[in-house]
Symmetry: C2
Subunit: 215 residues, 2 copies
């Protein structure tokens, strides 16, 4: 992934950064409320209180703006999940290390604006296949790669016995995320969180995972 | 769930059933190709070669037709998955019984027209929340209920040791379905199937599941 913003590598001045943020915020609200087709560059310029010329200077088209919005949101979320797997302390065990990471990850994945973006992008797979691919790469796949790295370290520390860390990470990810994400996609954002005891849910997934891969 | 077709309980004559099928087939093709908003009752009447009066006699509105289409497809699929859990033979083991069911289920879930409907319904959660709920109930939830029943029988037969069959069924479902369905939603129908060795994928999920719940 080496896609750039419409401004490429040129640094932005502070006022320009603020306008860019205002545009992205207004665009997000509009796209999530009305869907892609119903939103126009005119309405985004109005909502974000910037001149149309400024809007087009930052984002050359509605499509470019939409792409950048989804990209920046998914990247921000995936950095929140796990920028760097936590170091393993001498008295750590696999359950406590993995539990901490998975609870954070579940909270991040279930953030309402991310779920709404995910629904929007899934519905737009046919016209925007590259965008959906980015959500795949920066979403679940990035979380799974980070988990695989952590699982590899736990294996090195002899706290797990894992023949294939990528496979184990994929299995653990979906043990935890599968049901809440499916609920969120089809029942709405609240249904994924209300009544979900994150800690208990993660613990139950880890019961299964550690039965297979624990030492 | 006790929603009826627009014709309620009145039985249809054979010619009427054929017209109804033609309408549903044309509607499915149109909705999947162009999205909900772009399709009209006029275009569906034309594509299915029925009179508009006949179309409205079967389905009172575009919305009713869309609801019935998704409902009939998801029901047909969920009946294909597992109408009745298979009986357990004296020489069966849990891996072979569950493996058979899960391979069938994966093939059904990954049928392209169902994946496309799923994407469409997810993108339309805001205007059609009841429809998405039906896809949830008749989709993953029905598969999970059937799996739970089967897991309960395997527990009764002392081929598994499962304290909570519903939880175990949910975990097994997402161990198997999570990654392929996520790929299908974001990378397209082919990405979910191409390169997927269904039997090996199910076996790897069962390795984890049986480590936790096997005897």
């Amino acid at each position: 992934m080496s896609m750039k913003t419409s401004r490429g590598e040129r640094p932005l001045r502070p006022s320009s950064i603020a306008k860019r943020e205002a545009i992205l915020a207004a665009a997000q609200e509009a796209f999530l409320a009305h869907g892609y087709d119903a939103v126009t560059m005119d309405s985004i310029a109005r909502d974000s209180e910037v001149a149309k010329q400024t809007l087009y200077g930052h984002f050359g088209s509605k499509e470019a703006l939409f792409l950048e919005l989804v990209r920046s949101q998914t990247r921000a979320a995936s950095e929140r999940v796990m920028n760097e797997p936590p170091p393993i302390a001498p008295d750590d065990d696999a359950r406590s290390v993995l539990g901490r990471v998975l609870r954070d990850q579940l909270d991040t994945v279930l953030a309402p604006h991310l779920l709404a973006l995910r629904r929007l992008v899934i519905g737009l797979l046919a016209p925007f296949p590259d965008l959906a691919r980015e959500l795949y790469e920066h979403g679940a796949q990035r979380a799974i790669r980070s988990l695989a790295e952590l699982i590899g370290r736990l294996d090195d520390a002899e706290l797990l016995a894992v023949p294939d860390a990528d496979r184990a990470a994929t299995q653990l990810n979906w043990l935890v995320m599968g049901e809440p994400v499916n609920r969120a996609m089809l029942l709405g954002d609240d249904a994924a969180r209300i009544g979900l005891d994150t800690a208990a849910h993660v613990d139950e997934a880890l019961d299964v995972f550690l039965a297979a891969y624990g030492r």
